[in-house]
């Protein structure tokens, strides 16, 4: 259905056949009438060396998508359908053992909260070295020498000493660097980063993103960047998929997305970023409402209740993910009955004086 996406000639660093091809991936929690589709027929591709962003607010299904790709969803209580083709094999149909062999070596993942993602009672060195021992068949000696190298590479000073330390003895930034070292230990072909900077303070965020960009570029690893932060997208992603209510609502190359957002939700996300050029004391522009206001995708658009450009069709017909009708290029996909005509940022700039309410005296 959404094969059009694969025909795009990418402007990013990736090229050629996709490394990962997600097709109609759905993840449903619960059964029968209480079933809830956290991820609803999501399709996207990642080419070697490409960085693809999955963007959306909490509950849009971005983390569940990544866990489904990695095969890390709980064994019970959910149903996963669709296809996740990686290197010619459907990851969803591999046995646990086949999947285990690929995890950590070909596919790796880094998580949101570096402190809780590290084992508190095992020295850092062991936690890095065990990946090498599991996949490269290394003995503990060579593995820990390699671990020192890796820690050094991700910018952890004095790695020999740090190897013997425990997670609680490290700073937040160090911990995330250590997790990155573990993920990249076996030089995976695909790295999934699930909000890797959310738990860190702003200066550290920038460092970690710079590190990720550097390592990914250097090694040619493809990256799926999961985030709610469009600032992260702006600095890192070649292509962006905006998710809403478990579905992709807009897909575009980074530059196109920022210069001409088409989906009202994307527009809302962009408008909600605080800007230094704005007048002091101006209120932020959040997307109104919350995911709790969503209506089902069946017979409508889930975003309609929160949408300023809602039209009649939004409550009667499910929008399909289609190439943009306004001829903005074949690689732009959109799921909307009434897309934005102009960049909401321009709108905000023009209307700013009237909109100001409760500003400073």
């Amino acid at each position: 259905m959404t094969r059009t996406a694969t025909t795009s000639t990418t402007t990013g660093s990736g090229s050629g056949e996709p490394l990962l091809s997600v097709r109609d991936l759905s993840v449903t929690f619960g059964r029968g009438r209480r079933a809830f589709a956290a991820v609803d027929q999501v399709s996207f591709d990642v080419r070697p060396g490409q960085t693809v962003g999955l963007v959306g607010e909490s509950g849009c299904g971005k983390s569940v998508t990544s866990l489904a790709i990695m095969g890390l969803l709980p064994a019970r209580g959910n149903t996963v359908t669709g296809e996740v083709m990686f290197d010619g094999q459907d990851l969803l149909r591999l046995s646990q053992e086949q999947l285990r062999e690929r995890r950590g070596s070909e596919l790796a993942m880094i998580f949101q909260d570096p402190l809780s993602s590290l084992n508190p009672v095992v020295p850092l060195g062991v936690q890095v070295a065990e990946v090498l021992q599991a996949h490269k068949g290394m003995k503990s000696g060579p593995a820990s020498r390699k671990a020192t190298e890796l820690l050094n590479k991700v910018g952890i000073p004095d790695p020999t000493r740090r190897l013997k330390e425990y997670p609680h003895q490290l700073s937040g930034g160090m911990r995330q660097r250590a997790l990155i070292a573990m993920a990249l230990a076996c030089e995976p072909r695909l790295l999934i980063a699930d909000e890797p900077t959310t738990a860190l303070d702003v200066t550290i965020q920038a460092q970690i993103l710079a590190l990720l960009r550097e390592l990914v570029t250097e090694s040619g690893t493809a990256l799926i960047m999961i985030t709610h932060d469009l600032g992260v997208v702006a600095g890192l992603c070649d292509q962006v998929n905006v998710l809403y209510g478990g579905k992709v609502v807009e897909r575009a190359e980074r530059h196109d997305l920022f210069s001409r957002p088409r989906h009202p939700y994307t527009g809302g996300l962009l408008a909600s970023i605080p800007r230094l050029t704005e007048e002091r004391g101006r209120r932020l522009n959040p997307v109104p409402g919350s995911v709790a206001d969503n209506i089902p995708w069946e017979g409508g658009c889930a975003f309609a209740p929160r949408c300023a450009s809602e039209v009649e069709a939004c409550r009667s017909t499910t929008p399909e993910l289609e190439p943009d009708r306004d001829g903005l290029g074949p690689d732009r996909l959109l799921r909307c009955h009434h897309p934005l005509e102009e960049n909401p940022l321009d709108d905000i700039r023009t209307h700013q004086p009237e909109d100001t309410e409760g500003g400073p005296a």
């Binding site: 990695m70 890390l72 285990r100 062999e101 690929r102 995890r103 950590g104 070596s105 790796a108 993942m109 998580f111 909260d113 809780s116 993602s117 590290l118 084992n119 508190p120 009672v121 095992v122 062991v126 065990e130 990946v131 599991a134 996949h135 425990y166 609680h168 997790l179 573990m182 993920a183």
Partner: protein, 335 residues
Amino acid sequence: MLRFIVRRMLQAVLALFVLSVLLFAWLRSLPGGVVSALLGERGTPESAAALRAALGLDQPLPVQYWRFLQRALEGDFGISNGVYRGQPALDVFTQRFPATIELSIFAMVLALTFAIPLGYLAARRRGGVFDTGSIVFSLVGVAVPVFFLAYVLKYIFAVQLGWLPPSGRQDVTINATHITNFYVLDGLITREWDAAWDAFKHLILPGIALSSIPFAIIFRITRAAVIDVMDEDYVRTARAKGLRQQTIRVRHIMRNALIPVVTIIGLQIGALLAGAVLTEKVFAFTGIGQALALGFELRDYPVLQVLIMMAALIYIIVNLIVDVTYAIIDPRVRT
């Protein structure tokens, strides 16, 4: 680490001192008392006063305590004035204590061997038949009084089936050499294999009875801890790293899940010693449990003091070991 151990040891010494004061005061506040117990019906006020003076009981309590403390520090806990009359109280302890320790260790090993793997399995199959069955079984384990379970086991396996000996520590017909008074160990040291085997068979039934409560508690704690740990982010990280199931289980799940289990093991030592008293009674097992019971009947202060103090000492030492183990497992408590 060393500072940690030294601090804990100082705390232990303080705890023992406080306990000795309380114990001393408490024993002497019991109704009856040693004089009436010793003299019985034939006692006259004069003979009672003479006996009190001879035993030093006419002195004020603080003076009595001071004397007790001085002697105790030299290893003299007084002479028994109960059933073991004439024997130094410490000897009563050293002769009987190995039996209780042997039984307690066996019971604890038994409990740990089954409780930890079963707790893990139950957690992995949470909500399944095995899990539910184990919970019911462990609930029964806690709920059934130790002495009742002891009688049931004895009746079925010793009396009816005759598989195991009903009482004692070793068959009297075996003329075994005793060096340490740990009978199984003695048999192994002297290579008297049949003596060791016989002593071991005598341990099985009381051991099972005694292990029932620690088993049930350790099982429940292990199960709960494993369930908690399995949901932790670092276990997800371990899976994302593609580690072998074995590595995830041992290094990432059990190492964390054992932290609360180790704490419980230390606390269970108290329950184990208390349970030993009852179990020894049923199986005529000549440990300190029996000596304690007899000591109370006859107000045998020296014997009671040494037994209770030593039991407390063991409890404190085990918990010290537990704390150290805890610090080894969990680096966060070391500082």
